[in-house]
Symmetry: C2
Subunit: 309 residues, 2 copies
């Protein structure tokens, strides 16, 4: 750190000619890069990507969301080489700040789900263990306060979710901060909240299952070839062909989600043109957003494991 005046640098050591090595890629910026690369991959049928917009939700909203999310990602990373980093926050707190920053654009919810997956992974990496066990440790260590901040994050942006199961109405996430007293009363941690949604929500399932599909996506991103956005599009199709997207299920029903999964499998087998499928799904308003969130999570892990651009 400098003394507050003009003459200091970022601490990198100069060689004899005064040249310094480039700054390291920080955890927070790799999280941001994962969000940006996710939306760059095309075609990711149904979703906004480099070649597709929805009417009121466009590519630039995702770009702006990724830029806005950075302060929250930094809170997840804590000390990550860019500064002294004495501003590490709880996971729920970091997530809420990331969502608040992401929400500062007119497109609405761009990366709520992606951040819900990436933030705990950033924290696991900051703790030195970016593995299923490491992120499971992050998830199970969450407290009621993390859950409270998770609920507060819903104040910043409208997120499509299912109705809560019987008896869980006071904890409907759409109530936002108003649900916090009920949360405290029941003593539910963020992990507990995720556990209660795991049967219906693909991201909650990641939270309670060591982020299995996110790590699988990371492996596939590293194993496939070609430009990273093309790999992201390929892995998106693979994930979608593998399991129905829960965001599609929430918005359009299980049958539609299963149909889209079959269509993705056809696209993967070459029996259907993925570009045509993208046009169809965009026209229909069907966007497999949870699958895209898993690709973002996979990109973050892959970047930390050496995926190069």
């Amino acid at each position: 750190m400098s003394d507050g005046t003009d003459a200091e640098d970022d601490g990198a050591t100069r060689d004899a000619t005064g040249v310094r090595p480039p700054p390291e890629r920080s955890l927070a910026r790799d999280g941001q890069l994962a969000l940006l690369l996710e939306v760059t991959g095309t075609p990711k049928p149904g979703n906004v990507d480099r070649a597709h917009d929805h009417d009121d939700l466009r590519f630039e909203h995702f770009v702006t969301g990724a830029v806005g999310a950075l302060p929250g990602l930094r809170l997840a990373a804590g000390s990550d080489g860019e500064r002294d980093g004495d501003d590490r926050a709880n996971v729920g707190n970091a997530f809420e700040r990331a969502v608040a920053g992401m929400s500062q654009q007119a497109g609405g919810n761009t990366q709520f789900g992606a951040l819900l997956a990436v933030v705990p992974l950033v924290r696991a990496a900051a703790d030195g263990d970016l593995s299923p066990a490491g992120v499971e440790a992050v998830a199970t260590a969450t407290t009621v306060e993390d859950a409270a901040d998770f609920y507060r994050a819903f104040e910043h942006v409208d997120v499509a979710v299912e109705d809560p199961p019987d008896g869980m109405e006071p904890l409907d996430v759409r109530r936002g901060a108003a649900a916090v007293p009920a949360l405290r009363e029941r003593g539910l941690t963020l992990f507990d909240v995720m556990e209660r949604s795991a049967d219906r929500d693909g991201l909650a399932r990641e939270w309670v299952g060591g982020f299995e599909r996110s790590f699988h996506a990371a492996d596939r991103l590293r194993d496939t070839e070609g430009p990273v956005p093309d790999r992201a599009a390929r892995v998106f199709l693979e994930l979608l062909a593998d399991e129905p997207d829960t965001f599609v299920a929430v918005n359009h029903g299980e049958a539609t989600a299963e149909r889209v999964t079959a269509q993705a499998a056809d696209a993967l087998d070459g029996e259907r043109d993925p570009w045509a499928l993208a046009d169809e799904l965009v026209a229909e308003g069907v966007n497999p957003g949870t699958t895209a969130d898993l690709v973002a999570a996979g990109l973050f892990v892959a970047l930390r494991r050496g995926l190069e651009l």
Copy 2:
């Protein structure tokens, strides 16, 4: 700032329900957003953009470059609301760090010129005067040390430049850090260096002329309508139709630069399809990079002046 443990947030005040307002858009992140929006605007004939790649220089390299540039942009901004910000650096130093971070991708030089324009504008904004006079004050206050770091920036990436004029060979920027002793001997500041290139280089001309075209671009970006990337593409054409691109002149000669300017004017008048022109110029390897840099600079200024996404 927190006490280094887990429980603190970023200082935003909570309301009665514990909800905090979103983090403000920082200067450094607006600089980053400007770089990202510049490359998102399409068609910007000849350049990489949302719909165009070159063979080895692709959209994702620009995205990665913008993410990598952030630490340098933060050094330009100093205290900008995200942290205590005691890490303000000299303009040359901030620029060199931004270029070093930008260079960490396989595409090569993505945003050297854009950063050369955006970094002093970030500093002018940090000094509270984002105006032609404010950035002129930043430019004229530069020292020999700023010039030395500018030369060191060329160590990180290959930049296409013209041969130096007679007597200036020891100060050829392509010598990088090796030219620093000659720079010191002659006592040249970064402003002096820019002054000597202003007749041949559109960015040096901005540096010595109060960033006139950058501010003009900002006005146009705010005055036009529609999604911001569409505005960026429109303003790119306007700037290109107005003056030959000096980067094209360096790489392909004055005649080509003038021809491209005439083609841009035709595209603006509706006498030529800008998408077809983009395909032609990409095939020809002609990229009006300096004009794109001015659009990035204009985007930064426009964002600070209220351009919304």
